[in-house]
């Protein structure tokens, strides 16, 4: 017998890169992100912003713009000059005052026992009315 017949051993199949460790890692990452993340949609309202340049109100303090003092009662009711206002009425009043004096400044004086939500709602209302200058003040004795 000559060497005509030669049996070739089939090539062993190429080993695939195992996908199992990759899946393990991805599952661990997935569970990690699911557990650590919170899904609350949070926004922020600036409470204090100190800039290097002096605030425009300080420069123009010689000619004080009209200042409106709004007190915030413990029940969350805004009080202006001793008169309690509903939100809609207050917004209307602010609009009217703003059309007269665009540089209207609003100072909010909340009672210490007022709730956080009441202050944020009032700040929202004042900001939405178009007031550019708003400050929240507090009495030291209110602590």
């Amino acid at each position: 017998m000559s060497g005509d017949l030669s049996l070739r051993r089939p090539k062993p199949p190429r080993a695939l890169i195992s996908l199992v460790p990759m899946i393990d890692v991805m599952l661990i990452l997935l569970v990690f992100f699911m557990v650590t993340s919170t899904y609350l949609n949070l926004d922020m309202i600036p409470a204090l912003a100190q800039r290097d340049t002096p605030a425009p109100t300080q420069a123009a303090s010689n000619t004080p713009a009209e200042v409106l003092l709004i007190r915030l009662g413990a029940d969350g009711q805004p009080v202006l000059r001793g008169q309690a206002f509903e939100n809609a009425a207050l917004a209307e009043l602010l609009h009217a005052r703003l059309s007269d004096t665009p540089g209207l400044q609003v100072i909010i004086l909340p009672t210490g026992s007022a709730r956080m939500q009441a202050l944020v709602s009032l700040m929202d209302l004042v900001t939405q009315s178009g007031v550019r200058e708003m400050r929240v003040v507090r009495l030291e004795a209110a602590e």
Binding site: M26, M44, P46, L48, G112, S113
Partner: protein, 136 residues
């Protein structure tokens, strides 16, 4: 002689589809979630319509409705919180300080905090709010 026919091999389930789904979920959670430390007590921020998007980072001070304090997710006393914030401010003067107060927290517990941070030289203090449900 009977030769048993080998059982037909069941086709392997395509694991690629599983990887696709897991990867998609992974990216979804990475994008949608925030990784901030959450308070160890119930804090529901007040609803505000004029809030702006909050950047990540900074230091978060949480206040419960009863006035309990937590700094970056750890319950602390007032003095310890002030010391920690002062230390952070010293390292990074323009650090963002977030005050995450429950909507029913009395302002007498919130406003003095802001005043104290201001006295420490904080440049930026923000109140955390949540937009009303169904869009601002």
């Amino acid at each position: 002689m009977r030769i048993a026919r080998p059982a037909p091999r069941t086709p392997p389930e395509t694991i690629i589809a599983l990887i696709d789904v897991v990867f998609f979920l992974l990216v979804f959670f990475m994008l949608i979630g925030r990784m901030d430390a959450t308070a160890p007590f119930d804090v529901t921020p007040p609803t505000g319509t004029t809030g702006s998007d909050m950047p990540a980072g900074g230091v978060t001070l949480s206040l419960s409705a009863e006035g309990a304090l937590a700094l970056d997710g750890v319950i602390v006393e007032m003095s310890a919180a002030e010391a920690a914030v002062a230390e952070r401010l010293e390292k990074q003067p323009d650090i963002l300080i977030r005050i995450n107060a429950h909507r029913n927290t009395e302002l007498r517990r919130v406003l003095p905090l802001i005043a104290r941070f201001e006295a420490m030289g904080a440049r930026e203090v923000v109140l955390v709010v949540t937009p009303p449900k169904g869009g601002p």
